[in-house]
Structure formats: C-alpha cells, structure tokens
C-alpha cells in the first residue's frame, strides 16, 4: 500500500471549524452555548466557531458545508448529541461539500454533558470536550476506505445438502462456484437417509432437486473425489490447491457397488448412495483455484457406538438408527409385510433407545478414546426416531415398538405432531434417567426372543419394567466430521464440542474469525435438513454480499507504519492478535537491506495492539493515533482554555 501521508503538513496548519448545537434547549438549557463558543475561539487551530438551534437540520448542515466549500475550514468538530446518532449525517454533509468525510470529529455534549450535569460545571466540561475534539481533529487525515479486488468466485467444501444449497444460491446470484466433495457422490448423509421428517419427503427428491440444478449450472464446477491440499491468501483472494484422486480401496465401497448394481447413470440418484456426477477418477490430478470466499459445508459423522454399548457389536440384533433406516428403505423395494423383517428374521418387537452418543454426562458416561464426551444434544435424533417408529408401526402393524427416552425433543414445526403420531400408532414410551439407562441383556426367559430389555421407568412410578425384543435400535447422535486436515491448514476455530466455531451465534452466526470463510450446516452444530439449508443460504448470502461488487471494501482504520521511525524490531508483529496482519519484510532503505514492519490492511482489524508495544511509536491506527489521545488529554487538563479554578 502506498503511503499517502508522506508529505503531510505540519498539524498546526489545519483549520478547525467548531459547530455547537443547542438541540432546541436540550443542550442550551444546561450548557451556556455562547460561552462555549467564546471559549472555543481560544482553542489552538480553531479558525471558526458557529452555533445553531439544530446543527443536524438542513440549515445547520449548510453552515458547515459553506465553510468547507469556501475553504474557511478543513477540519470539522460538531458538538452535539451522541456520535452514533448523527456523525454519519455530518460526514455526509462534508462529503456533499466536497470534503473528505474522515476530517470530522464529534464532541458529545448532550448525552455526556447536558443530560447528566447542570450549571457552570456543565458549560466548563462542554468546553473541555470541544477542545479535546478539536485537538483530535487537528491530527485527522483524509482517509479512503481500503479496497481490495475480490474474485467473484466461491469455493464450497462439501457436497451434502448444505454444500449443494450454498453452491446453488451463489450460482443463481451470478458467482462462480467450485463445489468440492471428497467422495465420488453428491448428497452427503441426506442421500443415505430415506425420508425426511416431518414432511415425509423422499430424500431422493430433495437431493435430486438440488444436485440436478447444480450439475446443470454453468457457474458451478463440481470436483468429486477431491480434497484441499494447500491454502493461502485472505478474503477476496484465497488460493487453494485441490487434489483429485481415486478413492482408497475400501472407501465408498458400498456406495460404488450400489451405483453399479442400480444400473443408473451419472447424474442420477442412487438410493442410499447419492448422485455420482462423473464417475471415479483413475489418476491423481491437482487443480489451483483462486477464490474470493470459502464456504465450509463439511458436515457430520453419525456417532459410532462403542463395542458393548447397549450390546452393540456383541449382538447382531443391536443396530443403529441409520442402519435401520437403510434396512427399511431396502425392504420397501421388496414390498412390506405385516411384520418387519431383517434378513428373513421376523421382528415382533423393537426397542429404540434415544440419546446414544449425545447428552453424555461426566461421571456417568464413558469418554471416548480421546477422552471426549459428547455433552451436546444432537437435535435431530428424537424426531428421526419417532418418524422411524411410526413408519414401522404403520407399515408393519404386527411389529411392536418400545421407545426409551430422557426428554422428547420434538421442538420444530411439525415435530410435536410426530410425537403424537407415534403415540397414535401405539408406540409405547418409557422414560429413563441418565444414570439408569435401559439394560439390554440376552433373553434367557421364555419365548424365542433374542434380547431382553429392563428399565426403571419414571413414567411408571420408577417401577422396573421388562420386555423381550427382537431388535434394539440405537438413536445415535451426530459427531463433527473428520476435517482435522482442513482445521490445521486453514487454522479453523473449533469449539469445545468439536464442531467449527462461529464468531458469535447471533451477531455473525455463519462467519468464523477468519474473514471470508463461512460455515454452512452441520460442520457447525447438529441441524436438521431445513435448518442446514437455512444456514447454507445464510452463508451464501454473506459470501455474495462480500463478493458482489468485485472488490472488498475494508475499514480505513487500520494500522500504518511510519517507515521513518520503524527500526524493524518486530515487537509489533509479536503483539498482533491476527495472524498475517503484520509481518516483517525485507526492503531497501538508503541502499541497505533492512527488515521493516508491514501491515496487511486486508487482515488488520485496527485494534491497536501493535501501537502500544512499538518502542519508537512508529505504528499507529489511522484516525485513532496515540498522539491524538495524548493531545486530547492535554486539552482536558489544560488551563489555556479555561482559567484554573481555585477550590
């Protein structure tokens, strides 16, 4: 960045105009405005003082604009209400008069003077605040918002519904998109489901609706079997390398088999696999992508129960909910009977257990190999379980369903109805406490049921109830996807729950600390499909707002190095809180190669952490320099404007 302040004039030559507002009595009833004006004339650098009943009114603004236009003043101080109310009004007025909006400073003499203090002291304080503002104004420099060219291109990582939805939104908006998935398929976990709750939409239709348009879009390039292998750059100008390679031998085996068994072609939906857009690459290739923003849509992994958790792994009759869904979907193609069948085994009764791998409690649940507990709720499993339970009851009236829950969390629209529907279809519910989960044992009693379930049921007055079952289904939760490579490469923030961490759930819900990188869907937290698509659109909205103009306009209030002073100590670089915002670079000074600090204005947030540590005071935040503050303090304590009062 060019240093446009190199030959700045000596500050004493700035012509400051001071404009004091009466605010229709709000200020002038408590502050003697005339006296403030008289005092203000004594302030160094002040060449003109005016006042008006309403400075914010058109006639008030005219006073300022006149003085700017005819060159009487070149720095402006308005003393009126709180700056957030009207500083933009006055900056706009200055701009309309041909001035630079950043030569403006505000003295807050209403909220911080006339509304809280009274009498002479209020007038005196107002005077000092005006003097301080004028002192700051003398040091103000014209600034321009910093613009960086931005690629009108977004890279979406992950080809599940979050990625598909984001890509589609961005393409519709006219941006170019690279959509990357590590598998040969699009559709993610959604494609491996059967029907969506609570709408009962077949996932084939949902995935086809999104992926169909994605594959037809000229704006979107799809890379399957691909991973990001290199990453650099900043908002508007990221550089990615992606490597496309044949999948490892055992990966996606099942899906690839389903594709070939189905006889379906590329671009067609294959049940329980997804849509394969272009087959499987035979060789490894790399692609370099220049992109303006990145949407992370890397999704989740279903929780894999530990061996022995509710006898999972020990008994073949214990399966997970996704496994059950898969079986039911396959059964449907064969036609259904009165009784659910698995491998020709008639299932007369099923137990479904909630909160497996979710809502784990320290001291009750066992941590995983890495010592982690999934303390969060996975949000979707209650409804998914109830949806499946009703489906069993409706399709197989002779199969009984027992449902074991801690709290039924059918929170969303149409979900409480799922709970009711399950009740209606005679699913029997049991409620257990976290420390007394249902016990699954081999059935040694009468009947030819393989398993037996025992539970202390809080709905039945803590009585122990028992029932033999043919099948146990574990409603497993969601875990963060395995994206440690991306986390490391892109320095992505990860929350305590292992999911990617947004800046703030309400202020910036789809953004991470790193500008230009956005979150979509279950990489952030468990969501259902609708919520995932909302988040995906939200991320797309942010990306298109960032890149829509073809450049990114950044706050001009960034750090600036005074090369006349910088000695290249690097202290500032160490103090900087944003990686990459400050660095030491080699440059030529008077024929000598030296290291000097350099600011990357695209990354600098203007916090000033560097300012405090520079031994030479060679670095400052534009518009908010240390000298300005020192001058303001001087004015506050100065006796020049107001004679010292003796107590």
């Amino acid at each position: 960045m060019a240093d446009d302040n190199k030959d700045k004039k000596a500050t004493s030559e700035q012509k400051v105009g001071v404009y004091v507002c009466h605010c229709g009595g709000n200020i002038s009833d408590h502050v003697a405005v005339e006296e403030v004006c008289k005092n203000a004339e004594k302030i160094p650098g002040v060449v003109k003082v005016q006042n008006d009943v309403f400075m914010c009114s058109d006639p008030g603004q005219e006073l300022i604009m006149e003085d700017i236009k005819n060159g009487t003043v070149d720095r402006v101080v308005v003393a009126s209400c709180a700056p957030d109310l009207h500083s933009s009004t006055f900056r706009n007025a200055i701009q309309r008069a041909g001035g630079n909006p950043y030569i403006y400073e505000h003295a807050n003499i209403r909220e911080q003077v006339s509304w809280v203090h009274h009498g002479d002291q209020a007038t005196n304080k107002a005077t000092r605040l005006v003097a301080a503002a004028a002192a700051k104004a003398r040091e103000l420099q014209p600034l321009e918002p910093f613009k960086v060219d931005a690629k009108r291109h977004v890279t979406v990582i992950g080809g599940g519904i979050a990625g598909l939805k984001s890509a589609l939104d961005l393409a519709r908006k006219g941006l170019d998109v690279a959509l990357i998935d590590k598998s040969p398929f699009l559709g993610g976990w959604t494609a491996k489901w059967d029907r969506a709750f609570p709408t009962d939409d077949p996932v084939s239709e949902l995935v086809t609706a999104l992926a169909g348009e994605v594959l037809n879009s000229e704006k979107i390039t799809v890379y399957t079997c691909s991973r990001i292998t290199a990453f650099e750059g900043f908002i508007g100008n990221f550089k990615l390398t992606l490597t496309q390679a044949p999948p490892e031998s055992d990966a996606y085996e099942d899906e690839i088999k389903r594709l070939s068994d189905s006889g379906k072609g590329f671009g067609e939906f294959v049940p329980l696999a997804g849509i394969c857009p272009a087959g499987i690459p035979e060789t490894t290739t790399t692609h370099d992508i220049e992109t303006g923003a990145i949407v992370l849509a890397t999704g989740f992994l279903p929780y894999a129960p530990r061996y022995g958790e509710y006898r999972y792994g020990e008994s073949k009759e214990v399966i997970t909910l996704p496994e059950l869904i898969r079986i039911m979907a396959e059964n449907r193609q064969k036609g259904v009977g009165d009784t659910l069948e698995i491998n020709d085994r008639k299932i007369r009764s099923v137990a479904m257990i909630h909160c497996v791998g979710s809502r784990q409690i320290p001291g009750i649940h066992e941590p995983d190999a890495k010592g982690n507990l999934n303390e969060y709720c996975s949000r979707t499993c209650c409804s998914a379980t109830l949806h499946a339970a009703s489906m069993i009851r409706n399709n197989h009236p002779k199969t009984r369903v027992f449902d074991f829950y801690r709290d039924i969390r059918t929170y969303g629209r149409g979900q409480e109805e799922l709970y009711e529907e399950a009740s209606d279809s005679k699913v029997v519910f049991f409620r257990f406490e976290a420390d007394a989960p249902p016990e699954v044992t081999r059935n040694t009693g009468s009947g030819d049921f393989p398993l037996n379930i025992k539970v202390k049921d809080t709905l039945t007055f803590d009585e122990e109830l028992e029932m033999p079952v043919d099948l146990v289904v574990l409603a497993v939760g969601m875990e963060p996807g395995n994206i440690s490579d991306l986390v490391e490469m892109m320095k992505l923030p990860v929350g305590v729950d292992g999911f990617l961490q947004e800046v703030h759930p309400k202020l910036r819900p789809v953004e991470i600390a790193q500008s230009g990188v956005l979150l979509a869907g279950t990489c952030q937290a468990p969501f259902d499909m609708g919520e995932t698509c909302s988040a995906a659109s939200g991320a797309a909205a942010k990306a298109s707002a960032i890149l829509g103009k073809g450049y990114v306009e950044l706050d001009p209030f960034v750090a600036e190095v005074d090369l006349n002073k910088c000695l290249g100590t690097g202290t500032c670089v160490n103090a900087c809180i944003v990686e990459g915002a400050l660095s030491l670079v080699e440059m030529d000074v008077d024929g000598e190669k030296v290291k000097r600090a350099q600011v990357n204005p695209a990354l600098c947030t203007g916090c000033g952490a560097c300012v405090a540590v520079c031994p030479e005071n060679a670095i400052n935040v534009k518009g908010w320099t240390l000298k300005q503050y020192e001058d303001m303090v001087d004015m506050i304590v100065s006796d020049r404007i107001l004679p010292s009062q003796t107590a």
């Binding site: 009740s423 005679k426 029997v428 519910f429 039945t460 122990e464 028992e466 029932m467």
Partner: protein, 100 residues
Amino acid sequence: MTQVYPEFADELEGFGVNTTMDCFNCGTCAAICPLIYEHFPRKMIRYAQIGAKDRILENYEDLWRCLHCGLCIQTCPREADPGDLILGLRRFVVDHWRRT
C-alpha cells in the same frame, strides 16, 4: 418386575377406548382430579399403556372413585380423554368379572 404387554391397548378398543396411548404422562389429570389421590387417574392410564392388566384388576376400586366430572378431559393437554379411559377400564373390569 412387570412384564410389558402392549397388546392391551388394542384390547381396550373393544371397550370403546382408543386414546390409551395418547397420554404423554404429564400428570395434569392426576393433579386436577378432585380426588387428589396419589397418581389417579394417570396411574391407571399408565398401567393401561404398558398393559399391566393385573395391576388394574388388583386396584379396581380406584376406578370407581372417579366422579366422571370431566375436569381431566377438559384440561388434558393431549386430548387423551383420561376420564373416558377410566370409564372404559370400568367396562373392562365389569366384563372381566362377568366372564370369570
């Protein structure tokens, strides 16, 4: 240890009850019942849900305490008609007596 017998809800349909499973055990009926008697009527409803027939027959007297006043039916958040279920269980018990 009580064995669960889910077929009982089907059986009760023969006695004019088809809301056995609608109850989600919130306890409103028990707390609003003028009898203010432990868990009545939810206790009976719960026994009906899990098919604990014996418990119902053992505690049949409770069923006839019900005043049929309808306050539970009026306030049940799930429209599970607890009072009507109690009536149905009376019919079930009367039928049981007559058959044995």
